[in-house]
Amino acid sequence: MRAAIVREGSIIAIALLVAAAAGSVLVLAYGQSPASVYRLLFATTWTSEHGIGQVLFKATPLVLTGLSVALAFRAGLFNIGAEGQLAVGAFATALAGGALPFGTPAALALPVALLAGALGGALWGAIPGALKAWTGAHEVINTIMMNFIASGLILYAGNSGLFVAETEHTRRVVEGAYLPDLGMAGSAANLAVFIALACAVGVWYFLARSRRGFELRALGLAPLAAEAGGVDLRRATLLAMTAAGALAGLVGANYVLGYKHYFESGMGSGAGYMGIAVALLGRNHAAGVVVAALFIATLQHGALAASELVPRQMIDVLQGVIILSVAASSAEVRRVLARSPEARA
């Protein structure tokens, strides 16, 4: 256990050092001082109620997509499709919430809208899951294809009458489906943050304590042994991708129900790919995902303040560098540890 903490800790530490160094080069190239950029990045976010609220708002979708990627990964599957799953889910959330009759009470409207989102995302995850389980088609390629298919189909469906005429957004959901904001100094933080946290607890419980979750991990660790032990690999594969899709599909809770109250083209885009970074940084554990999402959200919100000194895109470059360096350092640290005799004891 302690060895694992040291190992994972050093992976993250090395990666963040590399990212900070790369970021400094970018800042210096722009003729600014890295220290003041990094100070702006963190100072303005966590020192005001509004800043904290905005971080929570931006962290919410990242928790969900991070969990989505992490859950699939624990089953040995790569979910590159959170991007498409969240789009389909958010679209479904908005359509369901908008189709309800005026005056539908929250007790009915909220579950319906959330369920629609989860189902939409689940469908988008289940298709590559089923293709993987029954034809062996690689889920990485298929989830990428599904991302493009999602954006094409949503645009098509929207333009054929599901968007408000002459716009790229749907009609509003009924008021009963609104998720109230947290009242944090005008920030967009809303109750969806608790939905995301509940999902984190749910994913932890499912993986650590449930029979199906155990089967899923067995599939990820040793598929042949799992099959010999009676695990239905096809069912576990399908379940993992479906659940991963459902988690990403809930992103609409934050943007649609908690913020805009309608779906618009491109909503939440990027959060799906960033979920890969969050899962990687969070070492595919539910609690780690929450912390990593807060970290990435801090960078994303801090980018606004730092844009006084350097272009905002510096943070996007940093995110790319962080993913690369975590991926590289995790492989390297494991190899170094595997060579040293104490680690084996």
């Binding site: 790569f78 293709l131 493009f148 189909l153 645009l155 895109q313 560098v321 991926a327």
Partner: protein, 290 residues
């Protein structure tokens, strides 16, 4: 009248296909060496960015195209550093390179040209496809890459690294070196695709790859990891796109772009599922020998 339409259709098909084809040819080389190449999108983008920088600094499109090749190779080198040297996960790293590339392009045009969205104009490609040297280069690269992989010592090593790295290693092939070389060649060819994008548009845009790298990967798969097959897939993608544009311009049938755009992706999924012929990836794709 019909002749003109047919010619317009063919020319447009080729124009659409060329940048995807170049990225796909790059993808064939790296994938056959056993590297999953999700970074084609990033190679296109950095290639286009480097083309802008080179062409703007010198005023020459040819220098721009060479810079594009260099930019693609640099991206290939970064990818190889992470996945070959450090054995990082290839899928994650490929996606990361694409995220990095789109942000780096936007950051660097602000740094170099103080503009948030577009870069200054650069020389373009000749309007006539027959007079376009990049077009003929792309056409020649199809048999060239085929011969490289199928007939040369280097190609044999690439295939060995992609199919049986352990066996290759035991026969004295330095698998890591072969993969490094394949990543650089792949980056150079895909970078040329980026050069096409920047030169055709006469300026770099930070989102100008617009998914073509992923489409190229789809073409690699549909083409069963063979250069000629990938080229045919690119032509097919180009023709499908061109057809919808021509039908709409001629006022015959308006298929919405949104719907037409998903055709290649759906076809790739069908091909992968084995419903149209069997696709067979290199046996060691994505695997590291220890």
């Amino acid at each position: 009248m019909t002749d003109i339409l047919v010619v317009a259709f063919i020319l447009q098909t080729l124009r659409i296909a060329v940048p995807i084809l170049l990225a796909a040819l790059g993808g064939v080389v790296s994938e056959r060496s056993g590297i999953v190449d999700l970074s084609l999108e990033g190679k296109l983008l950095i290639g286009a960015l480097a083309t802008e920088i080179g062409a703007y600094a010198t005023g020459s499109g040819a220098v721009g195209a060479l810079s594009g090749v260099a930019g693609g190779m640099l991206t290939g080198a970064l990818y190889a550093l992470v996945v070959v040297r450090f054995r990082a996960d290839q899928v994650v790293s490929g996606i990361a390179i694409n995220i990095l590339a789109i942000a780096l392009g936007a950051y660097l045009i602000q740094l170099l040209y103080h503009s948030a969205s577009n870069a200054p104009p650069i020389p373009g490609l000749p309007g006539n496809l027959y007079a376009n040297p990049l077009f003929w280069l792309a056409v020649l690269l199809v048999p060239a890459v085929h011969l490289l992989i199928a007939r040369t010592r280097f190609g044999l090593r690439v295939r060995a690294a992609g199919e049986h790295p352990d066996a290759a290693e035991s026969l004295g092939v330095r698998v890591d070196r072969v993969r490094w070389a394949a990543a650089l060649v792949s980056g150079g060819i895909a970078g040329l695709g980026g050069a096409w994008l920047a030169l055709e548009n006469r300026s770099f845009l930070s989102d100008m790859a617009a998914g073509r790298g992923y489409l190229a990967l789809a073409a690699v798969i549909m083409g069963n990891w063979r250069p000629v097959g990938a080229a045919l897939a690119c032509l097919f993608f180009g023709a499908a796109r061109s057809l919808t544009i021509q039908l709409k311009t001629a006022g015959i049938l308006a298929i919405p772009d949104s719907l037409a755009s998903i055709v290649p992706y759906v076809l790739t999924m069908i091909a992968l599922a084995g419903f149209i012929g069997r696709t067979r990836p290199p046996a060691a794709l994505g695997r590291h020998d220890q």
